[in-house]
């Protein structure tokens, strides 16, 4: 069996896998919602959901009170958000790896992560953008992520058209500038009001701020982006062959690369806005999908999105139950799980990241 091109090579196998993962995702959601620090009966949890969705059962018992609130306003929103953010990060990771033609890329390479951190730092410590309302930290972080990726595109286009190497170099340079400015502000501003802790907490990621408005939007964006990038599988495949081969196969990649990068940074920006910075998902999930099903984006895109959603959902459950009376920041957990997995993949001889020699 040749793992390099995927274990399940035939078409029916990958369609079956998509179906299986969808089923797994739904079961994960139904299972995860019964887990939490407050002990609730499984039947009650489902009755609350059924009441909220379809209006059945007694609204005196299931429509109000702490049990109802825990299920409907605490557990479920963050699980839905975990699905949306997980899919978005995995998807943008797969796309970024194609854009820069480099298997080590992730959503936070190309400076997007540092841009978001800088935005958050400026917002929290200096109050920049506070006129934007109570969500201003997330909005400024989003703007930071987006502006930096625009800057990367502009910089990579200086002196000739952007290519994958110039994009990586521009991303690294802007990333360094952003972290330097963030650190400068952190160092100079002598804040005592817990703002430093807020910055740190924010850069570690958390799904605790989930609410129905933002998580449904996040989920919708993720589903739409998955469908869009799935429809773009041919161009994504051509990106891995490089500009010259792509031209001889009828596609000029230049404009597509910019379009995909903007869409991917929207995905990352919105994930950052709703959940802070969550590392490693965008790097590890596309690699896992590639190991199982090969590089073809026709399979890689939907499978990455589904795996990402399932992964982050369970990661969030772990965050809630691992420490007693305290929640572990999800960014810490994903790095703690993600990095060893990544090392395992690297050490496995059969999966050479396609690098070969």
């Amino acid at each position: 069996m040749n793992l390099k091109t995927g274990v399940f090579r035939g078409r029916p196998a990958y369609l079956l896998a998509i179906f299986a993962l969808l089923t797994a995702l739904i079961f994960s959601l139904l299972w995860a919602v019964t887990i939490g620090s407050v002990d609730l009966a499984i039947g009650d949890v489902y009755r609350v959901i059924a009441h909220k969705l379809f209006g059945c059962f007694d609204s005196e018992v299931y429509g109000r009170g702490s049990m109802s609130d825990i299920v409907w306003f605490v557990r479920l929103p963050r699980l839905v958000l975990a699905m949306g953010v997980g899919a978005a990060l995995a998807l943008s990771g797969a796309v970024m790896q194609a854009i820069v033609k480099n298997p080590l890329a992730d959503p936070y390479v190309l400076g997007i992560s540092s841009g978001a951190s800088l935005g958050a730092t400026l917002a929290i410590l200096l109050g920049i953008g506070s006129f934007l309302g109570e969500d201003y930290v997330g909005i400024v972080a989003f703007a930071g992520a987006f502006l930096v990726s625009m800057g990367v595109i502009a910089l990579a286009n200086v002196g000739g058209r952007a290519n994958s190497v110039k994009l990586i170099l521009a991303g690294t340079a802007l990333s360094a500038i952003c972290s330097a400015v963030s650190n400068f502000v952190l160092y100079v501003i002598n804040s005592s009001s817990g703002a430093l802790e807020a910055v740190v907490r924010w850069t570690m990621g958390s799904l605790a701020g989930a609410n129905w408005e933002s998580n449904l939007l996040m989920l919708l964006i993720s589903v739409a982006a998955t469908l869009f990038f799935w429809s773009q599988y041919r161009t994504l495949n051509l990106m891995l062959l490089g500009d010259e081969s792509a031209v001889t196969l009828g596609t000029d990649l230049h404009h597509w690369r910019i379009l995909y990068l903007l869409m991917a940074s929207l995905l990352v920006g919105f994930s950052v806005y709703t959940a802070g910075i969550i590392g490693f998902v965008g790097l590890i999930i596309p690699h896992a999908a590639r190991m199982l099903f090969g590089t073809d984006h026709k399979k890689l895109i939907p499978i990455s999105a589904l795996l990402g959603a399932i992964f982050l959902l369970w990661a969030d459950v772990l965050c809630r139950v691992l420490l007693e009376r305290k929640e572990l920041p999800i960014g810490i957990l994903t790095s703690m799980i993600g990095a060893p997995c990544f090392i395992y993949l690297m050490a496995r001889k059969k999966y050479g990241f396609g690098g070969g020699d």
Partner: protein
């Protein structure tokens, strides 16, 4: 398909790589481009397959300027087997060849049974059908080259451009690949290193030196000992075997 270049020039910074190239390639001709390293063969081919834009002059396909074709349409007319095919990611052989169908696809179009069949046929033509499920990167250089040829065949174009296609191949596969290309009966432009291969297969040759065409004609007319001495600066001797094939023998330096 007819391919012409008119006064094509290429500049890289200060370097004038092509200094006005006029080619005229007729339908179904197999044309070889020969010349020493750095003479501009690859650059010229890249201008024709659209990876480079000429800094002056233009390329014409069937009388229409290449720039006037959308990329999809030029890729429906010209397929390319280039020198380097190093990929950072792993595709299966079948996936690589299936990409040859890309220029025939609209944005949301799915791969059809016909595409699958064309891919299988192309792989059979180059003798790589047994390798369809193998990972491209695990193949040898010669096998990879044949897969890329299969991809070019799957493009089903009237013209094929080969940029030193036999570089990584041992002699058996060099001959096999050129046999295959000759039997395709398409317009073929090939940059060829090996003068004996050029003499054996090409209908006509263009010889390049220092960014200029310095001669053209049928191999047995063009490739004289004197001409080879002129452009390659080596001593050579030519002979024609009983079946009428031209052979070029080289003499080592003293």
């Amino acid at each position: 398909m007819k391919i012409e270049t008119k006064a094509v020039e290429a500049l890289f910074g200060e370097n004038h790589i092509l200094k006005g190239i006029d080619l005229n390639i007729e339908d179904h001709e197999l044309v070889g481009i020969i010349g020493p390293n750095g003479s501009g063969k690859s650059t010229l081919l890249k201008c024709i397959y659209r990876v480079l834009k000429p800094s002056a002059g233009a390329v014409y396909l069937d009388g229409k300027a290449l720039n006037a074709y959308p990329y999809k349409e030029s890729a429906q007319r010209i397929a390319v087997v280039a020198q380097h095919n190093y990929y950072n990611f792993d595709f299966s052989v079948r996936e690589v060849v299936l990409m040859g169908r890309a220029p025939h696809k609209r944005a949301l179009e799915r791969d059809t049974a016909e595409d699958v069949q064309i891919v299988a046929e192309s792989l059979r033509t180059v003798g790589m059908d047994r390798f369809a499920d193998r990972s491209f990167s695990t193949l040898s250089g010669g096998e990879q080259q044949r897969v890329i040829l299969a991809r070019a065949l799957a493009q089903q174009t009237p013209c094929l451009i080969l940029d030193e296609p036999t570089n990584h191949l041992d002699i058996k596969y060099q001959l096999q690949l050129m046999d295959l290309v000759r039997d395709l009966d398409r317009t073929v432009i090939a940059a060829v290193h090996d003068l004996n291969i050029a003499a054996m297969y090409c209908d006509r040759l263009y010889a390049m030196k220092d960014g200029r065409i310095v001669g053209q004609g049928r191999p047995n007319e063009l490739l004289t000992a004197e001409f080879i001495q002129n452009i390659y600066e080596v001593e050579a001797q030519t002979m024609t075997d009983p079946s009428g094939n031209l052979h070029i023998l080289f003499r080592p330096g003293i």
